[in-house]
């Protein structure tokens, strides 16, 4: 059952010399209980896409297209309506748990705040529920921790607190923007396990934004790969890992130092030459063409079509049919 339909979403930033597109024509759907990964490098538009879903875009940015959530278009929804949805039916966790928690309030109060706002609970009731949530996300001695301040917790524990606050109202969608990037690898493993378990248990849909292909592989059912504001490839995670079609996806995978087989391999890594184009650059053809080793004349002249290459597997490329 489709919970969320993003239909030709674009995000434009009002620049001095006209609008600059940060997200271009992004479309995807999300079902209940589905986990979707959005992967890409800095500036590809993955965070802007998430912020658009939450109605949290910066002032100078404007969303176009449609974001249908349970039949309601979030692009045209007013701020009061978005406030009611945010934290209640759509919740978000961010990369840096230290800056997203308020340092002058106890963690108990911050988790309880969500319930007091959205569920109109009294203080005692909200704190009791906060205690239950902290316990659920695996914070040891949760009762003592209710009155702790964020600086008294480790990075992993703070991220658990963020997750507890995000889950307080049992949202339909959890957006996680690089939730484990700031954490050590052993802690990351625990947090990913926790998110996976909670998504299954609560029946939420998860949108996980990350630059880490390993995280995408471990956690998500489907993945969309973004480059310079466009979705360049989308499909089931296992399909894409087995058969990456778009030259950018191929380059991204090849550039990783691998641990495959756990054998040491010297030598060079494959690289993607060049840099991401400036979002304000006017490019007639494919935005990846300048860095693409398959690029031919047409790639520089015409925007590429979205080509279906398998069950639920598409790539934005003129030539993809030649190899996929």
């Amino acid at each position: 059952m489709t919970l969320l339909t993003v239909d030709r979403l674009s995000v434009n930033l009002q620049g001095e010399s006209g609008p600059v597109a940060l997200v271009r024509d992004v479309s995807f759907t999300l079902d209940r209980r589905e986990t979707l990964g959005i992967v890409g490098e800095s500036g590809c538009g993955k965070t802007m896409t998430a912020l658009a879903l939450m109605g949290l875009l910066p002032e100078a940015a404007r969303a176009e297209g449609r974001i249908l959530f349970d039949g309601e278009d979030l692009v045209t929804a007013d701020e009061a309506r978005l406030c009611a949805l945010r934290g209640d039916r759509i919740a978000m966790i961010f990369q840096e748990p230290m800056t997203s928690l308020n340092p002058v309030h106890t963690v108990g109060a911050q988790v309880a705040e969500v319930l007091r706002l959205h569920r109109a609970m009294g203080e005692g009731e909200a704190l009791a529920e906060a205690l239950r949530l902290l316990d659920l996300v695996g914070i040891p001695k949760a009762r003592e921790r209710l009155s702790a301040y964020p600086h008294q917790l480790s990075g992993g524990q703070r991220q658990r607190v963020m997750i507890a606050a995000a889950l307080a109202c049992r949202p339909d969608i959890l957006l996680a923007d690089e939730p484990t990037t700031a954490l050590d690898v052993t802690v990351q493993a625990q947090i990913l396990d926790l998110i996976g378990e909670l998504v299954r248990e609560f029946g939420m849909a998860l949108v996980l934004i990350t630059h880490d292909l390993g995280v995408v592989g471990q956690v998500t059912d489907r993945v969309i790969v973004m480059y310079a504001g466009n979705v360049v490839e989308s499909g089931p995670t296992e399909t894409i890992f087995a058969k990456r079609a778009h030259p950018y996806t191929q380059g991204l995978f090849a550039a990783r130092p691998r641990q495959a087989g756990r054998t040491s391999q010297r030598g060079r890594l494959d690289t993607i030459p060049g840099v991401v184009p400036d979002p304000s650059a006017v490019i007639a053809g494919c935005r990846f063409a300048d860095r693409c080793r398959h690029a031919v004349d047409i790639c520089h002249r015409q925007p590429p079509p979205l080509v279906p290459i398998g069950a639920d597997h598409d790539a934005l490329c003129h030539r993809v049919r030649e190899w996929a």
């Binding site: 052993t186 493993a189 396990d193 390993g214 471990q218 995670t237 550039a255 130092p257 040491s264």
Partner: protein
Amino acid sequence: MSAPDILLEVTALERRFTLPRRHLLAAAPEVHALNAVDFTIARGHSFGVVGESGCGKSTLARLVMALDRPTAGSVSLLGRNLFALGPDELRLMRRHFQIVFQDPFGSLDPRFKVGRAIGEPLDALEPDTTRAERRERIAQSLADVGLKPADAGKYPHEFSGGQRQRIAIARALIVRPDLIVADEPVSALDVSVQAQVLNLMAELQERHGVTYMLISHDLAVVEHVAETIAVMYLGRIVEQGLAAQVFAAPRHPYTQALLDAVPSLERRDRSRRQRIPEMGASLDPYDPGCPFRARCPKAEARCAAERPGLREVAGGQRAACHFA
């Protein structure tokens, strides 16, 4: 390995920090940031230091760079103990070792043109350089890292993150050092750019015979770059040896846990892995037991009573565990 091959020798290195007293008459508590660290790096090779936050890897880098003094032990470069040198001698030695930091945005002064930033080590360490030679060396250094001589006249903000990291490497190279300490050199970079910088480092090693001490939390990066590695936990080396060997057959439970925590597609369907708990590390410097025991799946009574020393567990591979 015969003795003349050894460029850097770290012996029984120890660093304690004194914390503020809890109250007037209390003893000042101490943190042992580094304990009994021993290793050597052969000329022209790469040595990797892996570990999570707080393991002491950055303290180690500061000591190797002689930016801090150890509580005990020595760091010898080219056979000379850096901490036995007078200030002038140390200054002369500094041209043999340079550092590249993690953050290419924070490590370049935004008000200095790139040429000035790159020339600075030359001004400090080889003040007799003529202006013409200085200009020549800056151009050579820029060429070495794949930038143009004309880039010397630009400001850091005109470059991308990957290019800035190249500038930082050019700055380290200009005095033609024997050793470059690279503290998380690619952690702030996107995957495709990270591959470019790692390739550049390998190229420079081949061309100039640079020796690297690479510090990273990213196991794949360390495995790709380093021939020999040390895994650190709470200020001690818990496992060391050839990278290929340690990654293929880790013997210390902490190394095993680290490798197991790396997310990947292959591991998604495995039954829930054994996770090591986040907290519970013993920080008491006078604790007689193994510092890892509270998180260790193999811990027994013996681990609380007796701290395991590093011992040979396979040809050239050493681990600090009673059960390795």
